[in-house]
Symmetry: C2
């Protein structure tokens, strides 16, 4: 969590200049993760929201001195009353939690049963919402499990989704972690969720392109009325607990597909393709987006021609 803390702290103290508000989602493993998250939030709040900054404590108790350019001063254990809102510097912050739809994956990934993870997340969700942070809950291996195979029970997924919504989740992201999801299985899962009373507006779909099915499953979900989709620029991502599972569906591919259908996403494909080319180059991974590579190829030709 130390790295996440630093990213969060930096995001709060040096918010990126953006013409549009950004919503950040912070994946929290447990209540201790929430405590850390809230501490960084509270510490940063006075500064980040423009409150007068108290002088840094001269006797810093432990650890290195905070870097005043990126870290908030640890002035107090009782933070000033922050507004009960997830908004900081015009950007929003949400809390994410992560459960599995199969017992095997739950045990391997989080070392507890599905029921135990529900029990553990209940107080985290309550506290997050009390503090004004919307909660997003991921249901992983919803369309196939590396340990139990491709036939995850859709009723198990629907049951979990209902429980999480009743516990107060604001959105459920149904994740095909392994990429095993097929068009018929996706259709069946969405039908089962609807029959269980879960509304499309409360759902997001989270596809991995491991078997090349992510965009097909996106089309099936669009047909069903889903309008929220997760993706990762350049097709980055993956799952260390899901052997062979590769990246999330690429943002560029998703945006290209949505635009091809006439949808308005507000995303500039050229710009996101440039970002995908840059970040995959920086971390030395191949650019996993066909639409991104083709767009970059076009941009290079246009630059050469002009």
């Amino acid at each position: 969590m130390a790295a996440s803390d630093r990213v969060l702290s930096s995001t709060l103290s040096e918010p990126p200049a953006s013409p549009h508000p950004i919503t950040y989602q912070w994946l929290l493993p447990n209540s201790r993760g929430l405590d850390n998250f809230l501490k960084v939030m509270d510490d940063a709040s006075p500064w980040a929201t423009g409150y007068p900054t108290p002088p840094p404590s001269p006797q810093h108790e432990s650890g290195p001195a905070p870097n005043p350019s990126t870290s908030a001063p640890d002035s107090t254990d009782a933070p000033p009353q922050a507004p009960a809102s997830n908004s900081r510097n015009g950007h929003s912050h949400e809390v994410s939690i992560f459960l599995a739809a199969t017992e095997s994956f739950s045990k391997k990934n989080t070392n507890c049963t599905i029921q135990e993870s529900l029990d553990r997340f209940a107080p985290l969700m309550a506290e997050s919402r009390r503090r004004g942070f919307p909660v997003r809950a991921y249901i992983s291996v919803a369309l196939g499990c590396p340990f139990e195979g491709p036939d995850t029970d859709p009723h198990r997924v629907a049951d979990l989704a209902v429980k999480l919504l009743e516990m107060g989740a604001d959105e459920i992201s149904v994740a095909d972690t392994t990429g095993m999801g097929t068009a018929p299985a996706t259709k069946q899962l969405l039908r089962t969720l609807k029959e269980a009373g879960v509304r499309n507006e409360d759902l997001a779909m989270h596809f991995h392109d491991t078997f090349g099915q992510a965009l097909i499953n996106t089309m099936v979900s669009l047909d069903h009325g889903i309008r929220a989709f997760d993706s990762a620029v350049g097709g980055l991502g993956g799952c260390p607990y899901s052997p062979g599972a590769t990246g999330n569906v690429a943002t560029e591919d998703l945006v290209y597909t949505l635009h091809s259908l006439g949808a308005k996403t507000g995303v500039a494909l050229d710009e996101v393709s440039r970002i995908g080319g840059w970040i995959t180059g920086e971390i030395g991974k191949g650019n996993g987006s066909g639409a991104g590579r083709a767009t970059l190829s076009r941009l290079r030709r246009e630059a050469g021609e002009s």
Copy 2:
């Protein structure tokens, strides 16, 4: 054509052992290409069909002596009457021709107008069919052209398809050479073809995955009733005249998708994935098939576990 001649000759003299008959398609650029093709066919026929092999001519007029293990003896200019059939050694052979749906691409690619290419191919098609070789006609840039943009006129494609069928083509392969095809454009094109009287049974769809849309467009085509699809193992292929255009849709991805829908293809996904891994490695290209890579990853894990 020299390389094609050698491949054809070798295929005839050393036909691959296969439990199922293979249909070979030979892309011929013009009537001279057909002459070469027929000559190799005729030369090989007596030997390949089990006719008694005449002794090799001791005075070979020009070029290197034929390698008796891979080449047929050039025993005569007047070949024995071969059966008017495309079948050799249990495998079938067909002739393919290639036209463009835009004038710009036709001129850049074949240095003639669309009408000129129709005129040139007419005698080739007549002769091919007279000799018992079915003819497949590709209509390239049917869903976007590198020179004229994404909006290829579907009526132009339909008009070409009708003319080619009237000229005697046995099958039309409608090719999205640039990969610019979208789901709505594919749907519109198929509707226009139907309205022009072209039957689904006379069509194959040929998608490139340049923008990641090949499988989506396959789904649209399946919905429309198309049952023939072109693909290349490992996603190999491309088009030198279509800048930035990458490979054909990968056979592995296509087969995985069709199987996921419950279709029976007769293709063993594990085996074709192994071939894709091998051939892309041999030629030093990345394996362009997500389903192929994921299948190979599974096979490696299974081999490690056993």
